[in-house]
Structure formats: structure tokens, C-alpha cells
Amino acid sequence: MAGGQQHTANSDHENHGDHGSPKLYIIGYILSIVLTIIPLVLVLNHVMSGVPLVATITIMAILQFLIQLFFFMHITEGEKPAYHVMTLALGVIMVFTIVAGSAWIMTFNASVS
């Protein structure tokens, strides 16, 4: 990038080396696919329904989220200050607000019908 040789931004360039090995990427990739296929199979074959189904899918989603973070996004690496951890925390709060807020707002449907 343009600012490459300029102060802080160049730290990006220095630790190019440890951006994970191909092996980690492949493991992460396979795990992600498996975690995607499981819910698909569950839904298509009507293996479960109701609360257990939703719970299983949610767990799969959270697992996949973690895999993305550790295998692809290198959440454990990086310098100080840990901006990426802060944005991630904020993101989690936002997602919680969106999901929980929407669920709360939409409950009026249940009380109307």
C-alpha cells in the first residue's frame, strides 16, 4: 500500500511471514464445509425439528464463526493496540442488538395473531 514505507503501516509488511501455513487454511476450509453441510442435511432430511434443530444450527454457526476467526482471520496475531479485538467486541454487541432487538420487536406478531 501507499503508506507502506511510512511509520506504523509498515508493520503490516514485516510480519507477512507468519500468515498461517497452507495446512491450517485447508483444515479450516474443510471444517467450515463440514459445519455447513451438517445443518443442510438436517434440514433437508427432516432429521430434527423445533428447538433442537434451531439449537443445533446455532451451535454449528458459532463454531464456524470461531473457525473463521482463528484459521483465516488470525485473531490471535497482530500488534498493539489490538484494534481488531476491539472492533470484534463491538461487532458482537451489534449483532446481539440486531438479533435480540428484532426478536423482541417482532414478538408483537405473536401477541396479535
Binding site: 500500500m1 501507499a2 503508506g3 511510512q6 461487532g91 442488538t97 432487538g101 420487536i105 417482532m106
Partner: protein, 655 residues
């Protein structure tokens, strides 16, 4: 054969309205004129090399600003058409259908294609210079963002003459915007143009967040950043978390329309309420996205022209950060009347009122900064002072709307229209005007004429109150929004006429600004110092306009108001200028790919608008190829050699 071409053409081109034929003619004429001028003066090469392929953030900023001013014109014409239609009872100036299209495009263009790009213009022109950086973090991505916005905006504008404009309101609520009620391509234009430019907006948010966090000059701590840069950081946080929600909402609606899904139709378990919910999760933060940079501008302007440090810097920073978070917790106030239950409404009423607190803190800080300052009433300062009472009224009516039970009265009335124009014009547009006047010398190297500017200022300001104050009253008298005509005898007529007169006064104010720009190009006084206002922040340490590498040597920052402290140091007796040590500068190369890729996005968007899947596929393949080609490109940067820098700097009188 001929018949089928005829029927196709009459669907494809919008027909039957003299105004649209006028638009057709003017579009053709303007296009021919542009092509002629470019060819006659042999400017094609120049256009391509200097502008279309540029990755220089300052030039990108200028293109954003010009496009936004054009869009302000288009949106303004829409506004005048609407106000003309409403000037007298039983008017037959516009048909109902046409009126619907105009308020929809007016709202969409003003928010997404005027306010947003004008804001991005300031991001680009100011932020890197203020933090002492040579460039933004991702210059290539920055060009992609601009061209995506540009072609997105063009797509929407095209709908006026081809296919037909969207007419379901700028919020595009289902079921009105579902296929069953809205066959025409207009709604598709809306969805695709916003989605395309939205990709660009999200990328800009990320780009500038990284730029601000990572590329500050050595020594500049976060708490040393100018308040404008802080406001952009807060804005970027909102953009990053709000825009994805819009993208999803629009994509789901598009899937409903294109593929017959039922996310937002009542059939098969869909729910239109969910769209409204998602839309405002973006929509409310969006108003803070556009107003926070204006707050940043006011802060810069006030401290420069009162010749004082800003009062309460830390509380300003804290209030902006608070706003950027709280703005996510208020979205439901846009549908209080849809019956989400008392507990939901109570929560969101309180959070909405809470956001008024940090905003109030800021206004008091600006006033305290002005207090006992040596105020110079330049154009930027005039707009800032005019903003204070205007925004105070807008804020007060906002709190009135936030009272959930009372909102059942105000909801969808002209009271609401008056309120949001008051904050959007009084807060956002006034602020961006202040910013344009303030940074114009830095952008173009000349100062604009004050006298024309003052005429424009008074026309805008008086026009504003004449236009919108009657609308509060009309709201109480029962006039609802999106009303295209009304009968005699409701007592609304004179107020509506007054309001229309005010709108035209603002139009005259805009014409004065156009004249001012033209006057400036021809006669504008050159700014040879680079510091025409005796500024405090780093951008004023550079020549106007700044050379493409910005800083020949990166400054060392010793505290807040960096340039002011440097100037103070220079005034000390015995100050010796340190010898400049110039090194080669690393810069990105220009690239035509952002432009070409966006053309493919445009092609894809246009195809999907008309359900021409083949054309959509061609566009998508083009996008894919341009993306792929980029990842195989390794030679993307170069070094500006020392003697070139020395020559440039010497020519600018800097060595």
C-alpha cells in the same frame, strides 16, 4: 417486427410527459456537448490519465464533490417540482404517479447520492492531510469506491428516462415495493443502484478507519487528532456496522422480486415488518453518518475563526463516540405507530432522547469556543453560526417526535417533513457548505468570492425558514406527507404557497453558489500561502492544492493543533528552519481497473433491472475478470525520485 420494436421502445423509454421529453433532449444535448468539447480540445487522454484512472485521494475527493453538487441540483429540481405542485389547491402540474416518483427519487438522491458523496469528498480531501499521511490506506480500493458510487448514481438517474423511476418512497416499504404491487423496473433500479454504491460506501468506511488508526504522522496520538478526523472515525464505525444491514435488507427484497421468494410478503410466513425493522437499523444510524462529519467541520471552523483552541476537546470526542454507539439503539422510533408494544416503544423513546444529550454538549462547546474569541465572519463561519439555532429547533422537534404517544399525532404528517429537513438541511447541508467554503482553497488553489457567497447565504437561510416553518403548522392542521394534491377550504392553501416561495428562495441561493463557483474559476484570488485562513491543523501547512505526494517530509507531531504549534515555534526568536531531508516517496500507480470494473457493475445492474439475465451474467463475468486480473498484478507502485520532489517543492516555493 416494426410493431414489436415500437412496443418495446414505448416500455423501455418513458413517454407521454413533456417534462420527460425535455429531460431526454437535455441529456442528449449535454452528452453531445461534453463529447464535442473533449474531442475538440483533445482532452480524452487527459481525462483518462488525470481523472478516470487516478488513485490520488485529493482528486477522488474533488470528483466526489462535483458529482454531489450535480446531484444536489437534480434533487433540488425534484424538490421544486414537488413544491410547485403543492403551491395551490387542486393543482394539475404533476400526475399522482409522477409525484410519487419524484418524492422517491428526491429522497433517495439527496441522502444516498448527495449527502453521502459530499461527505466522502471531505473524507478524501481532508483526512490524510490532517493526519500527516501521504495517502489513504488502500488507494486502489478508494478509486473502486468512488466509481461504484458514480455508476450506482448514474443507474438511478437513468430511471427517469429509461424504464421509469421508483415510486415506493425512499424507504421502499413492502408490500408496496413487492412485485405484486410494483411491476415496473423502477423499484429494481432503486434496489440495484443503492446496492452497487453501497459496496463502495462500506469499503470507504473500512478504508478510512484503517487510515486514521494506522497512518497518522509520527507523534500524533489519538488524542492529538483534529476533531474533524475524530468525527470521521466515529462515522466509519457507524458505516461499518450499519451498511451491511442495508445490503442484506435490499438483497432480500430483491430476491423476493426477482426469484419469487417470500421474505417480506405475508405468504408462506414472510413479514413486511422485518424489512422496516432492518431498513431503519441502517436508516437511523445513517442520519448520524451524515451529520457527524458536519459536526467535525463546525469544530474546525469555529476554532479557526474564533482563533481559539476548541473548548472541551475531550468531551467532544467522548460525545461523538457515544453518538456512534447510541445511534444503533434507537431505530424503532421510526415505527412507533406500528404497534410493537409499550415496552418496546418505551425503551426506544428513552434511547432516542438520550442521544440528544451528547449532541447538546457539542453545541455548548461550540458556543463556549466562540465566547470571547476574535471571531471573523467568513463564509464558513456564517454557515456555522446559522446552523446553531436551526439545529436547536430541529433537535427540539426531534425530541417531540421521540415521545412515543405523541408520535401517534405527528407520524407521517408534515410536522415530520419539517423536522427532518430542519436537521438534514440545517445540520448536514449547512455544515457541508461550511466545509466546502473552508477547504475550497485547499482543493482548487483559489478563494471564492465573498459577496456572491453572502447573497447565497441569505437566500438559503431566509428561504429555509420561509419554506419549513409553515410545514410544522401544516402538520398540526392534518396535512400528511406524500400528499400530491388537496382541495380548497382546508385552510392549508396560504401556508403551502408561502412554503413554496421559500423553496424557490433556496433555489436562488443555489444559483448564487453556481455563479460563485464559475466566478472563482475565472477570477478567484490565488492562494499562494497555502494557509488562507490562518488555520490550526496540518492541511494548512501544505501548498494549495497539495502536491500529489502531500508531504515532502513527514512532519513530527508534538501535540494538538499541530500546525498552530509549529507556527508558534517559528515565531520564536532564534528559530532555525531545520534542513529538509528529502527521500524518494513510495506512491501507488494509477489504474483504469476501478473504472472498468464499475462499468461492468453498471452493466450487470442495468441487465438485472430489466430481468435480462444474460446481461446480468455478462456484467458479473466482467466484474469477476477485473477482480481476478487485479490479484495477478504485482507492479502496483513506484517511487517518486528525489529530484522530481525537489523540483516540485522549489516551484511551490517550499525549499
Amino acid at each position: 417486427m416494426l410493431e414489436s420494436i415500437k412496443t418495446f421502445a414505448s416500455h423501455f423509454f418513458v413517454t407521454g410527459d413533456p417534462m420527460i421529453y425535455g429531460a431526454d433532449a437535455s441529456i442528449v444535448l449535454v452528452t453531445v456537448a461534453i463529447l464535442f468539447v473533449l474531442t475538440y480540445f483533445k482532452k480524452w487522454r487527459w481525462l483518462w490519465d488525470e481523472w478516470l484512472t487516478t488513485v490520488d485521494h485529493k482528486k477522488i475527493g474533488i470528483m466526489y464533490a462535483l458529482a454531489a453538487i450535480l446531484m444536489l441540483f437534480r434533487g433540488g429540481v425534484d424538490a421544486l417540482l414537488m413544491r410547485t405542485q403543492l403551491a395551490f389547491p387542486n393543482m394539475h402540474f404533476l400526475q399522482a404517479e409522477h409525484y410519487n416518483q419524484i418524492f422517491t427519487t428526491h429522497g433517495t438522491i439527496m441522502i444516498l447520492f448527495m449527502a453521502m458523496p459530499l461527505m466522502f469528498a471531505f473524507f478524501n480531501i481532508v483526512v490524510p492531510l490532517q493526519i500527516g499521511a501521504r495517502d489513504v490506506a488502500y488507494p486502489y480500493l478508494n478509486a473502486v469506491s468512488f466509481w461504484l458510487f458514480f455508476f450506482g448514481a448514474m443507474l438511478l438517474n437513468l430511471s427517469f428516462v429509461i424504464g421509469g423511476s421508483p415510486d415506493a418512497g425512499w424507504v421502499s416499504y413492502p408490500p408496496l415495493s413487492e412485485l405484486a404491487f410494483d411491476k415496473g423496473p423502477g423499484e429494481n433500479f432503486y434496489l440495484l443502484s443503492i446496492s452497487i454504491s453501497g459496496i463502495g460506501s462500506l469499503a470507504t468506511g473500512i478504508n478510512f478507519m484503517v487510515t486514521i488508526l494506522k497512518m497518522r504522522a509520527p507523534g500524533m496520538k489519538l488524542m492529538d487528532m483534529p476533531l474533524f478526523t475524530w468525527s470521521i472515525l466515529a462515522t466509519c464505525i457507524i458505516i461499518i456496522f450499519a451498511f451491511p444491514v442495508l445490503t442484506i435488507a435490499l438483497a432480500l427484497l430483491f430476491i423476493d422480486r426477482l426469484a419469487g421468494a417470500h421474505f417480506f410478503t405475508m405468504l408462506h410466513g414472510g413479514n413486511p415488518m422485518m424489512f422496516i425493522n432492518l431498513f431503519w437499523m441502517w436508516g437511523h444510524p445513517e442520519v448520524y453518518i451524515v451529520v457527524l462529519p458536519a459536526f467535525g467541520i463546525y469544530s474546525e471552523v469555529v476554532s479557526t475563526f474564533a482563533k481559539k483552541r476548541i473548548f472541551g476537546y475531550k468531551s467532544m470526542v467522548a460525545s461523538m463516540m457515544l453518538i456512534s454507539i447510541i445511534s444503533y439503539f434507537t431505530w424503532t422510533h421510526h415505527f412507533f405507530t406500528m404497534g410493537s408494544g409499550a415496552d418496546v416503544n418505551t425503551f426506544f423513546a428513552i434511547s432516542t432522547m438520550a442521544i440528544g444529550v451528547p449532541t447538546g454538549v457539542k453545541v455548548f462547546n461550540w458556543l463556549f469556543t466562540m465566547y470571547r474569541g476574535r471571531i471573523r465572519l467568513t463564509l464558513p463561519m456564517l454557515w456555522t453560526i446559522a446552523f446553531v439555532p436551526c439545529f436547536a429547533i430541529g433537535g427540539a422537534t426531534g425530541v417531540m417526535l421521540a415521545v412515543a404517544p405523541a408520535d401517534y399525532q405527528y407520524h407521517n404528517s408534515y410536522f415530520l417533513i419539517a423536522h427532518f429537513h430542519q436537521v438534514l438541511i440545517g445540520g448536514v447541508v449547512f455544515g457541508y457548505f461550511a466545509g466546502l467554503y473552508y477547504w475550497w482553497p485547499k482543493m482548487f488553489g483559489h478563494v471564492l468570492n465573498e459577496k456572491l457567497g453572502r447573497w447565497s447565504f441569505w437566500f438559503w437561510n431566509i428561504g429555509f425558514y420561509v419554506c419549513f416553518m409553515p410545514q410544522y403548522a401544516l402538520g398540526f392542521m392534518g396535512m400528511t406527507r406524500r400528499l400530491y394534491t388537496y382541495p380548497h377550504g382546508l385552510g392549508w392553501s396560504s401556508l403551502n404557497l408561502v412554503s413554496t416561495i421559500g423553496a424557490f428562495m433556496m433555489g436562488i441561493g443555489f444559483l448564487f453558489q453556481g455563479a460563485q463557483i464559475l466566478h472563482g474559476i475565472k477570477f478567484g484570488k490565488r492562494d499562494t500561502t497555502g494557509d488562507p485562513w490562518d488555520g490550526r491543523t496540518l492541511e494548512w501547512s501544505l501548498p494549495s492544492p497539495a502536491p500529489h505526494y502531500n508531504f515532502a517530509t513527514i512532519p513530527q507531531i508534538k501535540g494538538r493543533d499541530a500546525w498552530w504549534t509549529m507556527k508558534e515555534e517559528m515565531k520564536q526568536p532564534g528559530y532555525k528552519k531545520e534542513p529538509v531531508h528529502i527521500e524518494p516517496i513510495h506512491m501507488p500507480k494509477s489504474s483504469g481497473r476501478p473504472f472498468i470494473m464499475s462499468v461492468f457493475f453498471f452493466i450487470a445492474g442495468f441487465g438485472l433491472t430489466f430481468d435480462w439475465i444474460w446481461m446480468g451474467v455478462i456484467g458479473a463475468i466482467g466484474v469477476g475478470i477485473t477482480l481476478l486480473a487485479r490479484s495477478f498484478e504485482y507492479d502496483t507502485d513506484y517511487y517518486v525520485p528525489v529530484d522530481e520532489i525537489e523540483r516540485t517543492e522549489a516551484a511551490l516555493g517550499r525549499l
